[in-house]
């Protein structure tokens, strides 16, 4: 077998129990079976109230590779990492890990709040398997990396959560593992620290560490990983391209979480109620990038409303604001008569990249909101264009000039 494969996961499954009482009782049963030398997980069937948290997952990871692990909450990511780390036993399958495993799973687990940062560095390093001499040697690096030198002698209970994590990461990152497991570790720190962590991870990777990176942050995964596994209800799909993985991921989450269809419609407060659809033209064809989009708003008011400014906000499915269009900037305001009325807004060359977007907006008068909806409409941009590079949130139209050989 090639010595370059550091992680081998073969048909690994893990079941969990929904009910606490049952879970404890199953724990007792498993304990008995283990002590009788029986196989964990029984015959592979589920007991009442159990479900597969990780279901038949296979993958391999080579030296210097970084694998992103994405999926919604409860998809089994952490469970898989915990099996890889040897914390819990798989119920089926086999895991083979080569070399020293470092896990950035719970940064600062084992910190005692009363003790100082300095004391906790020694304790935490010992938990991770450092000897005192190794820690002595790396102490200055750890403190420097954490940027906490002025607080190192105060009790960590006075630290902020970000400082806590910074110290935890600095200790763990100075450990040189062959396999590194990172679970949402960077979510708490500030941006500058997250960047430094990502740099450290890629440094380790260049030195031959295999990295498994779990994060909900698309940008961080794109920064760190080369390919990706998408977990959904315990099932894993491996994607060689991050874009495919994230398209599939967004397809999972956009329908259920961020873009909840039931939220669309009239807003329930304010005198103006609005509803919108966004389409290519009157024949309801699906929009492509850089076409004119027609946004039709149905408005309903309880009284005559004069001098209203219309505001439209374009969001990505991930909650990133792309653009705000205000009618007031165009010198336009609306007078809505009592009852129903229609407004149409044409967006020339809607430069959004293929994907799903959310349109929010409403009416304002002198800053006061007179009707607003977080979910005015969902915008679907079809990915059928040849020029689409597969990345980014905008699709800019380019013309190329210069010497060509065609």
């Amino acid at each position: 077998m090639s010595n370059d494969t550091l992680v081998t996961v073969e048909n690994v499954s893990k079941k969990f129990c929904r009910s606490l009482k049952r879970s404890l009782w199953y724990g007792m049963q498993d304990l008995g079976n283990e002590l009788l030398g029986r196989r964990h997980g029984g015959n592979g069937g589920l007991r009442p109230d159990e479900f597969w948290a990780v279901n038949d997952v296979c993958f391999e990871l080579k030296r210097g590779e970084c694998l992103g692990l994405i999926g919604r909450n409860g998809a089994g990511k952490t469970t898989l990492l915990r099996m890889l780390n040897g914390l819990i036993k798989p119920d089926m399958g086999r895991i083979e890990m080569h070399g020293r495993v470092g896990a950035l799973i719970a940064l600062g687990a084992g910190f005692n709040p009363i003790l100082t940062g300095r004391e906790n560095i020694y304790v935490n390093a010992a938990v991770l398997g450092f000897t005192k001499e190794e820690t002595d040697r790396k102490f200055d690096n750890i403190v420097e990396f954490s940027e906490l030198s002025e607080f190192i002698d105060s009790p960590v209970q006075h630290y902020s959560s970000g400082m806590y994590v910074r110290l935890g990461f600095s200790i763990a990152a100075n450990f040189n593992p062959n396999i590194l497991l990172v679970d949402e570790a960077l979510a708490v720190g500030d941006l500058a620290f997250a960047v430094r962590c990502l740099n450290r991870i890629s440094e380790l990777r260049k030195n031959g560490t295999a990295v498994i990176f779990v994060s909900h942050n698309e940008l961080q995964v794109r920064e760190a990983a080369q390919n990706c596994i998408l977990l959904d209800h315990g099932h894993a799909t491996r994607y060689e391209s991050l874009d495919q993985a994230f398209l599939a991921y967004h397809a999972l989450r956009s329908d259920t979480v961020l873009l909840d269809e039931s939220d669309i419609g009239f807003v329930h407060d304010g005198p103006v109620r609005i509803r919108a659809i966004c389409k290519k033209n009157t024949s309801d064809e699906i929009l492509c990038s850089n076409e004119t989009a027609m946004i039709e708003l149905d408005c309903q008011t309880q009284m005559d409303c004069l001098n209203l400014g219309l505001e439209l906000r374009f969001w990505t499915a991930l909650g990133q604001l792309i653009s705000v269009v205000k009618s007031s900037a165009y010198g336009v305001s609306f007078d809505l008569p009592k009852g129903e009325s229609q407004i149409r807004v044409d967006i020339k060359t809607l430069a959004l990249a293929p994907g799903r977007y959310r349109l929010a907006g409403g009416f304002r008068r002198d800053g006061e909101i007179l009707g607003w909806s977080r979910d005015l409409a969902h915008i679907n941009i079809t990915p059928s264009q040849a020029q689409w590079s597969g990345e980014g949130i905008l699709m800019l139209q380019a013309e190329f000039h210069g010497p060509f050989i065609s």
Partner: protein, 287 residues
Amino acid sequence: MSRNDNTDQVTVYTPDSSLRDPGQLIGEMFRDLWAGRELAWRLAVRDISAQYRQTALGLVWAFILPLANTAVWLFLNASGIVRMGETVLPYPVYVFTGTMLWAIFMEAANAPLQVTAAAKPMLAKINFPREALIVSGIYQTLFNAGIKIVLLLLAIMVLGVFPNWSLLLFPLAILSLLLAGTALGLLLTPVGMLYADIGKSFPLIMQFLMYLTPVVFAMPASGWAATLFQLNPLTPLILTARDWLTGMAPEYLGYFLGVNLATLALLFVMWIVFRAAMPILIERMSA
């Protein structure tokens, strides 16, 4: 790319029971015990310093409970509410040594469940030699026992009992109390981690055990109580420790040795159980 690493060190995780391969299991147990020595020390230092840093009375907490206990029994005896029976040693010395030694045993028995429960967040997320937890518990008990013993020695000398050469054997008796306590504690830990009932009933069980051991009462001379006291494996441990401390000839030396051998065997078996149970407990504690 660095090749001088330890990637040929392979770890395999399967659903198979760890008891399938006893040779490998025992090898791993001792390897982890060795690997965790530094960690055990760190954890003990961490817990001891944190424990005393946030108290005003500090080290007094190590012996305040047996001290209070002694006071209660001295009062009960002096007021004639409870008759203790004849002891060779002056009763205050008897009851003070008894409660102090019992406190050491109780702390040792309490330690495995307590340290394991306190380390839940760590256990659930970090892979470290689990043996270190138990050893750190033993260190902490030893530290507290040291304070108690110093106080105990001072107190019995004030009360007019002077130890002789057999004091040299006394640490051995303390060690057997510690190991017996740890074995008992390990016995309770796996189920105790799942069901809180164990932890809650622990003080009750210990109270009951104490009255079956010559801690505050003298050995009954006859009757079923005498048989019960004599069969109780804790009796020779407490009596021998007390005899060695106060310079008397130990009566139950043979039984003492037998209990120690049994303790070592039990300790080893419970160590295996603890180790095998860990991944299963961790799975349940955070599910």
